[in-house]
């Protein structure tokens, strides 16, 4: 997810050609291109609201963030447990599937939490110039 945030910069540059549609009138396509370029400039020049949007990903409060992280963890364990239960039911390997997949689910939940917290961190870091208010 950290990579997802980081790559926005590359994408913004590659959209210039999209405005030139199949229209035959050169005038219209030139105007569209100019509009597209101006829009690009606007988007580049005004990173303020975008940054703010990213910063508040996890919600404005510590409670919101805590809730987000805890559901990430619980969901990992539930998914692992469910997968293990299904595995046992289909293959009759009870209780080994449940044990192994519950442990894996625990790991996946922890991984989820680390990744969610990391995404918050990196979006903080990308907003570098602006002081973070916590």
């Amino acid at each position: 997810m950290a990579a997802g945030f980081a790559m926005n910069g590359d994408d913004a540059g590659s959209e210039g050609g999209r405005g030139s549609g199949p229209t035959s009138e050169g005038d219209l396509s030139a105007r569209l291109k100019r509009l597209e370029a101006q829009l690009d400039q606007r988007r580049e020049a005004a990173p303020g609201p975008r940054q703010r949007v990213e910063d508040s990903t996890s919600g404005p409060s510590a409670i919101g963030r805590a809730f987000r992280l805890s559901t990430e963890f619980v969901a990992g364990v539930i998914a692992g447990g469910g997968l293990g239960w299904l595995f046992d039911r289909l293959l009759g390997t009870s209780p080994w599937g449940l044990i192994v997949f519950l442990l894996l689910g625990f790991a996946a939940g922890t991984f989820n939490v680390v990744r969610a917290a990391g995404a918050q961190k990196s979006s903080d870091a990308s907003g570098g110039s602006k002081p973070q208010k916590e």
């Binding site: 997802g4 790559m7 926005n8 975008r50 919600g59 919101g64 998914a79 692992g80 790991a107």
Partner: protein, 250 residues
Amino acid sequence: MADPIHQFELKPIFSLGRIGGSEIVFTNASLFMFGAVALVTLLTMLATRNRAVVPGRLQSLVEMSYEFVASTVRSSAGNEGMRFFPFVFSLFMFILILNLFGMIPGGFTVTSHIIITFALAALVIGTVIVYGFWKHGLHFLHLFVPSGVPVYILPLVTAIEVISFLSRPISLSVRLFANMLAGHITLKVFAGFIGMLASGLGALGWVVGVLPLAMTIALTGLEFLVAVLQAYVFTILTCIYLNDALHPGH
């Protein structure tokens, strides 16, 4: 009166006949969902009817919600993510209106039923899977195989990644459902205290009852915040997951 779960009860309005062994019933949940769709459609159509260069109140409301969702999609899924904009915008408006319908006194909170939120989350993850395989073919599976991992722990990491992926619809649906359910129960419990104090303690109860009343008012404000925030969180996570479908293997 003090039963805080009562508000989530599904009430059948009329029956649509039977499919298989089960009866298909139009409930109050269906009514509120149709209401939300009608409201969103009406709002956007009415607001964009005039298409004034200087927008009026209604038009700027709709333009602001468009801009808001568009910037959310752009910032987390890039410009390619804009092809999913209609989907994300519909999801955001639908959840937002349903959450806010729940704040109307006597209203019904559809998003406090996990089957609804899970259906929405399954729709999102289904879109990610179908689009990912359609666009990238088997390359989409690179999502589960992170690069730069030693071969001997690769199976373990892959298994963990798969479980982590499967946990996404669960966390997505549980978060929305639990927030709405818990908030509305808390609200009801605190409001119930006022009546209990007044009827149990008499004159003293009326005086002390001011405390839970203040709490209820504060919680109502918080619930409005949660209603909007959870719609937004659902939207941004949708965008992040769609980003995985657009660019697997990161």
